[in-house]
Symmetry: C3
Subunit: 272 residues, 3 copies
Amino acid sequence: MKKCLENVRKNVPLVHNITNYVTVNDVANVLLACGGSPIMSDDIRDVEDITTICGGLNINIGTLNQNTIPAMLLAGKKANALKHVVLLDPVGAGASRLRTETALQLIREIQFDVIRGNISEIKTLASGSGNTKGVDADVADAVTEETLEQAIAFVKTFAKQTGSIIAVTGAIDLVADGNTCYVIRNGRPEMGKITGTGCQLSGMMTAYVTANPEDKLKAAAAAVVVMGLGGEIGYANMQPADGNSTYRNRIIDAIYNMDGETLEQGAKYEIR
Amino acid sequence: MKKCLENVRKNVPLVHNITNYVTVNDVANVLLACGGSPIMSDDIRDVEDITTICGGLNINIGTLNQNTIPAMLLAGKKANALKHVVLLDPVGAGASRLRTETALQLIREIQFDVIRGNISEIKTLASGSGNTKGVDADVADAVTEETLEQAIAFVKTFAKQTGSIIAVTGAIDLVADGNTCYVIRNGRPEMGKITGTGCQLSGMMTAYVTANPEDKLKAAAAAVVVMGLGGEIGYANMQPADGNSTYRNRIIDAIYNMDGETLEQGAKYEIR
Amino acid sequence: MKKCLENVRKNVPLVHNITNYVTVNDVANVLLACGGSPIMSDDIRDVEDITTICGGLNINIGTLNQNTIPAMLLAGKKANALKHVVLLDPVGAGASRLRTETALQLIREIQFDVIRGNISEIKTLASGSGNTKGVDADVADAVTEETLEQAIAFVKTFAKQTGSIIAVTGAIDLVADGNTCYVIRNGRPEMGKITGTGCQLSGMMTAYVTANPEDKLKAAAAAVVVMGLGGEIGYANMQPADGNSTYRNRIIDAIYNMDGETLEQGAKYEIR
């Protein structure tokens, strides 16, 4: 994974983000922290030009609206045509019809390299994609040691069906293609008390996959480890009066300062 | 007020925010800090579903536009129909016709549990609501010890007319229904040098009122105390080189770390 | 430059920002830090009223869209009619047709007091404005000691053509009208690892020029020095585990704490 990190710092992948306005600043700063470079653009007349000059595209439906949905479709198709990396973060799929339907439309019309969400969002996509044969719709609502086997089978099956790397993040993170699954145990529960660690991870993962075309699966898994390890290092740096707002800064700071050795030594994963 | 804080931490109220893009990230983080959970959504096709799964709705007109105004109306009416808590933050009412008219339309078409603003915004609403009988339009432009009596009478009258809890924040904060007014003296003047402490308070107040349905007035007042006390504790934690940007983080951190005992001991209020 | 800083703190210029949603919160906080006051508004029905009550208008095309472009034009013309200060930050001009064409339309239809960008953005405007006589389109892509003479001549010529102060920021910063060029060497390369230091500077520069109508050129240059010196002081305050996210806060903090003496002593510039 050391090599994946170093490739990001060396190649400085330019990432086009169509993302929500809640966490967009943190997404930009974490992209800079990890060694990438961010551009944000969401107007239908702007996105094709911007995606063309980038290496990767990160589509996040967190605060989607009637103007940004067509822009997401247009940008994604352009990125596909250019063979750029495209990632989907289906924020809130399952929470509203618009989000669920938009996420499903996006995976129908765009070929994503990676789809990254929590287990509930990914299950929504799997059961809603009209292609549930082989997908166990009864997979548990959290990935725990007890439900791990079942969850791994689920993400591999959904990866096979979509042709995308599937990343499910939670207490235990899974990153899989049809054959191989990284099971990752980095991170801290306190990260859930910060808005946008998932959005940040999606931005950073787009940079990692873009800078490591020869092994996209490992690169996606490396991004998950960097985020989780950043959370651990940031937590170790907390002072007595610190809370979630300072923790946010300390995580991005830890990612900024992370080198390949630290990553290699701190990574906690197995391959299944 | 201890109980109000503990109910937020226990119930984890989910708050739907239609809010400005300037301070939205801080609103999300302060909601997490106090024990609530934030969702942001502002598209007309999305807001009804999102508000349905939430307990409270926070409408902030800070950067309103032609797409979000209809979404605010739709979401507010849905929240009313579901008997969810709804709060209005009329940012900039009085500063432009669009903001004034939108705020007035919102209070005509939606029954708010709470309206929270500065004295100038609240006066604009009171004099513009076409229902100024009994409202002293000449109430002073700042709530000070000298103008306190008059201001208390004003907010109680406006609360009676609207059927809403009225929260006026400034050097002295007032939170009143038609009969009872909390006069709160927590806070620091330096909080005015941070963007969005008012927006943060509105988000947090929505969580407090949602988690304390049996005493909404006290819950709204408790949120004001938490914000002000957070400002005091955050200020006490300032280091020599710190300025307004770090102060912002320290306030949210203080709210994250606040417990019921600290709140009870630090609260400075009287009931009038 | 001491006087310029003190005028901002004394006059508290109110600045209307039509800016991107990526860095908008930092723009608001840096405006407060330097002594100004921010308002954000971007709806076509809102911007004329808001600009009317402000002293300056900051137009930043970072995440422009079909709704905000007409608002930019409307607000800019209103500010011109009122003889308010207007600044353009042509973020990404040259990166997409929409951005380039919008920036060019803005400088055709609005008389800007200041245009601030990086050398690539400013060159795009100079060569695209259909008025390139005398503008050396072959000016180098970075302002260095080697290319300084040529770059100074370029910005002076473009300033003369547009009637605007031209501010080109990079490793060496240039702020010029048709006759005089401030060459500024404050700042730190690490500032490039934070999103939005350019956007912050544009907001702050609008406040500086607004508060110093008697010497707009010096005021624009002073804002560049304040930003760069803030970057130097913030860097000196960095602790071992700090990274780009905390650095962002430390720069704004340094601007918050900066007084005229510190500015005068830390300023590194020459006039050419």
